[in-house]
Symmetry: C2
Subunit: 370 residues, 2 copies
Amino acid sequence: MRIGDKHYESIWLDRDDEKAVKIIDQRKLPFDFSIVTLRTVEDVYSAIRNMTLRGAPLIGAAAAYGMYLACLEITTYTKTREHLRNAAKYLLSSRPTAVNLEWAIDKQMSVLAAYCRRDRLVEASEKTAEDIAEQEKQNCKKIGKHGLGIIEEISRQKNGEPVNILTHCNAGWLACIDYGTATAPVYLAHDKGIKVHVWVDETRPRNQGARLTAWELGNHGVPHTLVADNTGGYLMQKGDVDIVITGSDRTSANGDVANKSGTYLKALAAKDNNIPFYVALPTSTIDMNISNGVKEIPVEARDGKEVTHVEGLLNNKDIVSIRVCPEKTGAINYAFDITPAYLVSGLITEKGICRAEEKEIEKLFSEKKN
Amino acid sequence: MRIGDKHYESIWLDRDDEKAVKIIDQRKLPFDFSIVTLRTVEDVYSAIRNMTLRGAPLIGAAAAYGMYLACLEITTYTKTREHLRNAAKYLLSSRPTAVNLEWAIDKQMSVLAAYCRRDRLVEASEKTAEDIAEQEKQNCKKIGKHGLGIIEEISRQKNGEPVNILTHCNAGWLACIDYGTATAPVYLAHDKGIKVHVWVDETRPRNQGARLTAWELGNHGVPHTLVADNTGGYLMQKGDVDIVITGSDRTSANGDVANKSGTYLKALAAKDNNIPFYVALPTSTIDMNISNGVKEIPVEARDGKEVTHVEGLLNNKDIVSIRVCPEKTGAINYAFDITPAYLVSGLITEKGICRAEEKEIEKLFSEKKN
């Protein structure tokens, strides 16, 4: 999407340097826009782990590029299979909740199983990574087109008054390759001239809403307002929210949705106020091996310091971290929660919109079933 | 309650200086513990408005002391009735949601209507303010005793394992005169040797949980853990919350509860997970003139800067405010939401526990009915 006059994607291979994978450093946004170069498997692992990059589709693409970098690391002395298996295992350990990580690495491993020579492995892994990134991008665009219909319908019902969309965390183009998942319908609606306005949950503790979604929407010119995570319920009570759209890090076969902590609370409020709650996701985030998301999806516990401290800009100048509680206060930091399927109005996927229930999901994604 | 070895209350008259009302500066906690002196009606207005003091019961007591200071301002040239009416109106405008403000000022005005002489007005208003503060303190203690029974019962069911209590915002002794409302049962349980553990919602945007509740509990030695406001839903899904107890700024005749923004979301999650959700409140926060809280209770919109910026401690040294979003991002900041009565398991009041429904409330508080 647009940053000023330029079009960006969230990950790309440097054309002047085949060993370089480029990403936008999401930890510094919105205060600094800087590009980071990943040259090793270790670089990719760290970038995922420390959230230089984040977002389920982007994590998957980055892991695929990580396997490409692993192939580049092969020398005549490398035990190739062991090396690739180790790289895969290492990358897989970077974050537990996003299923795309597993999906992208599995895809690379099954492609690479057919080759032995370094040049072929490099070529094949590069193509697979590029394919995955391109596929995710096209999927997001399709998600956008399917979701656009829902926004258009609400716009019609409101006689062209702005459609108020609430979103949580960042399921924007930064989290994907382009367009985003939850934001794709919004960008497409806005570009088509439909009036939209986005309520942006700040999304503590890491503030991906305040830092990334607000930045994305601002750069693309989409009207939006930042709110504390606590505010969405009252906005819904007031009638100021027409639809909620979020992303998903992993969706189980029965339609339970793992997404950024706090999503579940907004889904409950949407239900209580008869507001449609949609989840936008590429099918790569569906995990058909998990039949009960609430019970089975692993939820990452991150460093409590993300809760006791907040990062931001001091005096419009320096990025600093400040403590917001007493020095000795301990904190727990679960990064995700699970929104049970019965709170989800529908899943917006690249293949169409379906209800969040086992048979519907199975029908739409039958080719993903083991 | 305890700060180190010393017992404090949140507001008091300085015994060495009859014109001085003393409060703890809640804007600086937990980083600085400093006492502020209020000498004029203007001082009280500003302290309520800028939240040097906050919390429904404390706001009521402070407004009562404000009327005492108004009486001290009377000179031979003062048009006494006009002066008192103006002071009352001015104080009343400081914050719109807390009903105690109105209640305390009305009480002072009806007492003061019987007097004309300055010395009598001063004496009567001082006594009324002291009575209100003492009454709120005793009410909190009684709330604690009634709520204690609920915690003891859960403790028995868990065979003495720690009772996990989630609370939102600060309904602690800082918000009241002593004990607190939501925290009163917790302090009493802890002091009685019952194992408790409190999940403290940080309560963005002003972080009263992270800054005040964590500080209070820490000083009193009650085990607690800070969480982002988004986390409570997942904690409940995991079975890590036994009971939710919050305070209330205003409760309508039908049992709808206005409290800090985000309370409603926790109530929804508690309901969805079959966890009891209690509201602890003195009857002074019940507004029998409002029959439908969701529709009628006024909700204050505060400065958006509280959302775009966060205050905290830099390098363990300086209290600073940092921006957490792009420079041009706008924000909306509703300070409260309304938890509908059907989500409330019960109201814990100084007169006992009752269901959040019109007839029960009317029965328990019949003397409050106009």
